[in-house]
Amino acid sequence: MEAIANAGHPGAETHAGKRSWLFTRPTAKTGIVSWLTTVDHKRIGMLYGISALFFFLVGGFEALLIRIQLAVPNNTFISHQTYNEMFTMHATTMVFLAVMPLSAAFFNYIMPLQIGARDVAFPRLNGFAFWVFIVGAIVINIGWFVKSGSPDAGWFGYAPLTSKAYSDQFAGDMSTDLWVMGLQILGVSSVVGSLNFIVTIINLRAPGMTMMRLPVFTWMTLITAFLIILSFPAITIALVELMMDRSFNTNFFEAANGGLPILWSHLFWIFGHPEVYILILPAMGIISEILPTFSRKPLFGYPIIVFSGACIGFLGFGVWSHHMFTTGMGSVATAAFSLMTMAIAVPTGVKIFNWIGTLWGGQLRMSTPMMFALGFVWMFMFGGFSGIMHAAAPADSQQHNSYFVVAHFHYVLIGGSVFALLAGIHYWFPLIFGRKVSEFWGKLSFWLIFVGFNVTFFPMHFLGLNGMPRRTAVYDGNMGWSDANLVSTVGAFILGVGIAVYFTVMIRTYFKGEKVGRDPWDARTLEWSLPTPPPEHNYDVIPTIHARDAFWYEKTHKDEIAKETAEHAKSETAHGGIHMPSQSWFPLLAASGLLIGAILFVNHLFLWAIIGGGIMVLGIYFWASEGPGGYHVHLEKHDDHGDGRH
């Protein structure tokens, strides 16, 4: 109450002096402290984005090592062990530390703007989710620096390879413990973040922003958030069981004592399949923003696109065993999962068709974001088709764990998710940084990436059909795989150059790019009504929404909107100005407790680990005690936000 009262009534400042020093809120707006204590969804979004891009490079670097090793048969570039660590870390990094957080970056930055909110529902929790993510990332990557080495059990860590008996090369090996602990922590981050997004989207919409007026990207954020909160518990349980096995000698996956390793597979994929939709739905959301903007048309069949997104999410929970067609589930179960999986093609197809419908009759501007978006449609469709081939269980019994699968999922993951995320970066760059990437360099990077990507992964279909299993550090030269592998490696380097160009251009643009004003793309959704970069409080006046493409409507009904805004501004000032949440140290403190506890735990210092837990509880306790705080931005006095703070 106190904080609210404090913020609500002028004069409450007089009490502030009596507050404990502990709860003095950080107020820096620039510098390191401002970033460590930030609760601003835009800054948190940027933090997510930068970390994710960093890990994308790390994951890509690992991929290049993989490709070098496979360039020629019987290569000795890296050892088997290193190779195994490499693909495990490559996948874990790309999935959990690059693509998911990059999506989260967009959720954070863009979604609140799209619904006309000032921030997310629980700003400090949002900061916490980010710091916990960093903790998880650190824990997973500790392996590079310790004797145990990095996790090496594959990204789905099938039991019992992860059990103590088969993963400890020497006493005190902790690489698998790092993986187990890291994923659990990342799970906490994702679930907490997603709960926040769900509440935000459902509760903080601007007046008039009905659910069926939400931009599609926001819809996909919502569905993704649901997938996260509903699928992560399954892997958390699996990881807890594994952790119990490893740390306290229980029997969950100990075959000799009645354990069923296949239970791990089920629990993992109950999470794992929704996870791949967690990776693709945000991408689809981004595409559904870009295509209409650059076609200058509303999205074709908005309701059905939204509905099919929800459908994909829901069906996604009923198909997990298609990763286990070869585990001998019995004919009925195999058939059921086979058919369920195929069913997903229908809602996905609907999206493809509607995107094409959006282009139809439009005025397509082939700017770089549009190029990436069209690349997405092509490549994702292609990857989807090989997914359908997997869905046919008998065909999959040949393709499973072969390079055909590797081809499939890179088509959907890179051609799908990554293309869309790269498109999104181009698309929203002007909004976030007020500068625009040059078309020439943007398109060059697109074509390098597009060509490199296909040269890398198209031949892998043939490798798979020709019987090359995945996760093999070496292969013989007499198997007919040598040419395709070499081509693929060359492709990976073209792709690498493309990515390098992309990053270089982005960095250059940040410093030297062409400056642009508000709404450079003639876009349709609300976030573009903001100046670039958007002010801390986002909207001077919370907008009122009258139509689906809210900003397009504003642009076509200028007078009406201006009048309305003026009225609202008045009433808002009467309320004491714009209320903003205060920054806080405690999310960071709580997360660092988690880091300390996790590191002690993986070193099997279980009792010491309680110290970390204690720090975390203390962090949360202070967090709860300090209250949300808050201060006001008064626009009439300063157009800026430096003042008006208590």
Partner: protein, 405 residues
């Protein structure tokens, strides 16, 4: 070079091709694959043409195009959408029907062939395969047991019970059948049939630890007569060659080959072998012409002295052994060693028994397993050498192992 069009086909005819198949099960699976390729291919062509057309037709060609008034702001058309949904469902039905048929077909031996089927047990170990023939019992020993090379009769349905001893593995002979996993504490099975005699490549297809990449095996399909002969030969205990008793044993014998360490990951295959692997296999069944009984006897002694016998059975020569190491009774008649990785010749054998860890990192013969020390053993939490086979000793053991036809 495969980079021109015809080359794509070369990319599909390797020894583990899933397209160039040799048995009815793999064929049924390929059929389903072809159906999916056709259906998705047609959809791809249709959708891609519309997409291309739309992109080209509605593309803004210059700046002035971009300035023209906004296009009609259409929001969708329910009829088109429903129609496309219906079409997609229809397309899926085309895939679903053969899918269902093949699922049931591939699940187990068809009823008509049940009585004639041969049952085999295959067990996955880190990183090799054990094969047992429950129908071929050897008195006082148990079922006929071999490793890494599964021999089957042509034209008969083979039902393979799949088990795993340590971690998950997967049994995959692409030309004959899709894979089925070998999972600890789970009883899986698959069935397959070879249409004609042949020599097939197989590989573990589930990641199973450090040397997963080199956990391979071979499957040899023989005409009924050859198969029967093979069974008889295999059921017999190991060959015993008596050396001349002229004291020659004391002297070192010539190796009969030159050994130079080819290094880590060096290939173990040869084009000579690949031209007709089945012939090579048949040849391998017969004793070599130039056997040196003295060297072999030396090898036999070394095999015991180096405590190879703690793990390996050579039925007739030594019993005991351990179930987690390959049965070597007839190792000389196999075309490969180290789980299908190296062709079975003197140099490769030499390489394997002197430097197992270079061939197959982390393998259990090197590290020891279940408390049995291997080439290394645990002492005070440190790995220390336990068995050393020197380049001088190796030729005798090689000769001994090769004599075990």
């Amino acid at each position: 070079m495969p980079l021109f069009f015809g080359g794509w086909l070369n990319w599909l005819t390797g020894p583990q091709s899933t397209i160039d198949v040799a048995g009815p099960v793999a064929e049924s699976q390929r059929h389903v694959f072809y159906v999916t390729v056709w259906v998705t291919g047609i959809i791809f062509v249709l959708v891609a043409s519309v997409l291309t057309y739309a992109t080209l037709k509605y593309k803004a060609r210059n700046d002035s195009d971009e300035q023209t008034p906004t296009p009609p702001q259409g929001h969708g058309n329910p009829f088109i959408e429903l129609g496309l949904i219906a079409a997609s469902v229809l397309a899926l039905v085309f895939i679903a029907i053969p899918t269902l048929r093949a699922i049931w077909y591939a699940y187990d031996v068809p009823a008509a062939e049940k009585t004639n089927a041969l049952e085999v047990n295959a067990t996955g170990y880190q990183w090799w395969f054990k094969f047992e023939y429950p129908s071929e019992q050897i008195d006082g020993v148990g079922p006929l047991t071999t490793a890494n090379e599964l021999v089957i009769p042509v034209g008969r349905a083979i039902r393979i019970n799949l088990r795993a001893n340590d971690v998950m593995h997967s049994f995959w002979v692409p030309k004959l059948a899709g894979k089925v996993d070998m999972i600890p504490n789970r009883g899986n099975h698959l069935w397959l049939k070879a249409d004609a005699p042949g020599y097939f490549w197989g590989q573990c297809a589930e990641y199973c630890g450090e040397s997963h990449a080199v956990m391979r095996f071979r499957l040899i399909a023989l005409a009924q007569k050859d198969y029967a002969e093979w069974i008889i030969a295999q059921k017999a205990p190991a060959r015993a060659l008596t050396p001349p008793s002229d004291g020659a044993l004391a002297k070192t014998q010539p190796a009969g080959y030159a050994f130079k360490n080819p290094g880590r990951n060096a290939p173990g295959y040869s084009s000579a072998f690949d031209t007709d692997p089945l012939a090579a296999w048949l040849k391998q069944q017969k004793p070599a012409a130039n056997e040196n009984p003295v060297l072999i006897a030396q090898g036999h002694d070394l095999f015991t002295a180096k405590s190879c016998v703690t793990c390996h059975v050579v039925r007739g020569n030594n019993m005991g052994g351990a179930p987690f190491a390959p049965d070597l009774t007839h190792i000389g008649s196999r075309t490969t060693i180290a789980a299908g990785l190296l062709e079975n010749n003197s140099v490769n054998l030499h390489r394997w028994i002197t430097r197992p860890n270079e061939v197959k990192p982390g393998n259990k013969m090197y590290l020891g397993i279940n408390g049995m020390p291997g080439y290394m053993m645990m002492q005070d939490d440190k790995l220390v050498p336990h068995i050393v086979v020197s380049d001088e000793e190796a030729p005798a053991i090689v000769a001994y192992l090769q004599s075990l036809k």
